[in-house]
């Protein structure tokens, strides 16, 4: 006896209905969970096809265990770090952040390592600039992939501010960081620091007032902003006090310091010819790169012709 095909037809129609229901649901899930699906955000520079990790990592990636593979590579980074193999770390870190693009600490350490450590290790200015640009590019990719993380944006802003001295961009990034959920009060305070460095009073006052309106219940924050506002009201035109702050930056790293290049002919400090940063006069060694300024200041003798 031949079996009826009716149940199969009904089941096929039912499956079609379920498939049609599932299509918009899946689309909605993809839009709701960018951290899971939009790994290759436009402009992020991430290319999953170019993951440069060992084979087991790729297998793990294909199995849906990307984060665990990233953890294992992170342990490898730790070992390389302890072994002093600084120049071997960036490719491994690249694999880490490609496998888990939402590993904020991974992005932060990767960008910091390039912009600070490898930058400082380099002798040539071109190398130093290249490492710094690479570090900033890494952090920018991290921000593109984690736009809601204030920690990620803050790290990017801090590198622009502290290392690249790209102060207007840093101010924009600090502002963006302070707008994110769970942002800390220091993000709002850092928003006006770049304008202090630039002595851009047209922007400094509105930025300070804006920062004062943020975190109204945070008493330490309010006190710190009020202290800064008082200081600038009293010293906005006091160049001697500005110089004192510059000297402080080289010693205590106080953040209100005014950049030395605004006062190029100041008699109170020397500019190190090697690192380009100021050191108080009378000190023979650069406080930043520990170069021997006295020797570096010796006039260079013209080369003798070789016959």
């Amino acid at each position: 006896m031949r079996r009826s095909r009716l149940p199969w037809k009904i089941a096929a129609l039912f499956a079609l209905g379920v498939y049609l229901i599932g299509l918009p649901i899946q689309e909605a899930i993809i839009n709701r969970r960018p951290e899971q699906y939009r790994v290759n955000a436009p402009g992020s520079g991430i290319n999953l096809a170019a993951i440069s990790g060992p084979t087991p990592v790729l297998i793990a990636a294909l199995g849906g265990f990307r984060t665990v593979a990233a953890d294992l590579l992170w342990l490898k980074v730790d070992n390389l770090w302890d072994g002093g193999a600084w120049y071997l770390i960036p490719p491994v870190m690249e694999s880490v952040v490609q496998l888990d693009p939402h590993f904020i600490l991974g992005w932060q350490v990767y960008g910091w390592h390039l912009a600070y450590n490898l930058n400082a290790e380099s002798v040539l200015q071109t190398d130093r600039r290249a490492w710094l640009e690479d570090g900033i590019a890494v952090l920018k990719r991290g921000v593109a992939l984690n736009p809601k993380s204030f920690e990620m944006t803050f790290e990017y802003a801090w590198t622009l501010f502290d290392r690249a001295h790209d102060l207007y961009r840093a101010a924009d990034a600090f502002y963006y960081a302070s707008q994110q959920q769970d942002a800390k009060a220091y993000c709002a305070r850092m928003y006006y620091r770049p304008f202090e460095h630039l002595l851009d009073f047209d922007r400094l006052w509105p930025a300070m007032k804006w920062a004062q309106k943020q975190f109204p219940d945070d008493i330490p924050h309010q006190k710190l902003v009020a202290r800064d506002m008082d200081w600038w009201r009293q010293n906005w035109n006091n160049k001697a006090e500005h110089r004192k702050q510059i000297a402080n930056e080289n010693t205590a790293r106080q953040q209100r310091a005014v950049p030395f290049w605004l006062y190029p002919n100041d008699p109170y400090w020397n500019v190190c010819p090697l690192c380009g940063l100021p050191t108080e006069k009378g000190k023979p060694v650069c406080e930043n790169c520990f170069a021997w300024n006295f020797e570096l200041k010796q006039p260079v003798r013209p080369a003798q012709a070789v016959r």
Binding site: R3, P7, W8, I10, A11, L13, F14, A15, L16, G17, V18, Y19, L20, I21, G22, L23, P24, I25, Q26, E27, A28, I29, I30, R32, R33, E35, Q36, Y37, V39, N40, L48, A49, A61, L62, G63, G64, F65, R66, T67, V68, D71, W74, L75, D78, D100, H102, F103, I104, L105
Partner: protein, 303 residues
């Protein structure tokens, strides 16, 4: 897909499903009303069989030991350590849950047929779909108990570590060990839901093929289902036949990645409850379709 087209497709699909459910209501309502006792008895029998399997017990003990030994990375900072423990623990639950799901699901029906223990069952007034649903329910209970045990162990490890190193260390005031217990439990529950979908698909494959083919098929399904984001990315970039193949894989295989919230838990990304509800709804529909076809295949199979 624009929102309007999405709503239209959703409406058409819902109308189709609702129409079929209304037209066949006598059949499925009667089956649900009368078949439940048989389904429950077979489920209990399946659980009792699984309890006797030493391999299952050994694997569970092994995974408990693995999760309990996650203290080995204690030289890292608290933030890194919290991430490692949560991520590795949830990975263990998912990975071994998947293996156990295959082990439990793939061997049930073929083993019953090969050992001929299915004959006395089917000789009784038990329909074949009741047998299949009972086996599926039993597998879900077994997996639920195992996932619950592993989650309790992981939560215990997290609480212990949070108690020991949860206090911010000197020089690292911002580096805290965030155990995030509710998020971890949520991720484990969602992993269990993914296993439920996978087990339904394993039942479908095992209804038509041998044990070996079922194991291979289940691993492939799990692999492809877990890399939906890659398929999605690649299918938008490829052209021609390869794009069509990727598109087919992307739409044919249930997106098990929708149930994966490990990235959120490990990185402290807020969990979107709406996306979880949508994933659960889609998963339930996949389970129903898989079991429907498994029943039809099993009904026509010569045993």
């Amino acid at each position: 897909m624009t929102p309007q087209i999405g709503k239209l497709i959703l409406f058409v699909g819902a109308m189709l499903v609702a129409g079929i459910l209304v037209m066949t209501r006598k059949a499925w309502m009667g089956a649900l009303a009368h078949g439940w006792p048989s389904v429950w008895r077979i489920a209990k029998m399946t659980v009792a069989e699984a309890r006797r399997k030493r391999v299952l017990q050994a694997v569970v003990v092994l995974v408990v030991l693995i999760i309990a030994s996650l203290n080995i990375v204690s030289y890292l900072s608290p933030v890194e350590q919290a991430r490692m423990v949560k991520d590795s623990g949830l990975m263990s639950i998912t990975l071994f849950g998947m293996l156990l799901s295959i082990f439990v699901g793939a061997f049930m029906i073929p083993h019953e047929i090969e050992s001929r223990t299915i004959y006395p069952i089917l000789a009784k007034p038990v329909r074949r779909y009741e047998f299949l649903l009972g086996k599926y329910l039993g597998a879900l209970i077994i997996l639920g108990v195992i996932v619950a045990i592993l989650t309790v162990v992981l939560v215990g490890v997290l609480l212990l570590q949070a108690h020991v190193i949860g206090v911010p260390q000197a020089g690292q005031p911002d580096s805290k060990f965030d155990a995030a217990i509710p998020a971890v439990i949520f991720a484990a529950v969602m992993s269990y839901c993914a296993l439920a979908v996978l087990t339904a698909l394993i039942m479908l494959i095992s209804a038509v093929s041998s044990t070996t083919m079922t194991v291979i098929g289940a691993i492939l399904l799990w692999g492809v289902g877990s890399m939906q984001s890659m398929l999605y990315d690649l299918s938008t970039k490829m052209v021609g036949a390869s794009r069509f193949v990727l598109w087919l894989f992307y739409h044919a295989v249930p997106p098990l990645q929708d149930f994966d919230f490990r990235t959120n838990v490990a990185n402290g990304i807020p969990i979107d409850a709406g996306a979880a509800v949508q994933a659960l709804g889609a998963g339930l529909l996949y389970i129903i379709v898989a079991l429907l076809f498994a029943s039809l295949f099993f009904e026509n199979r010569q045993v």
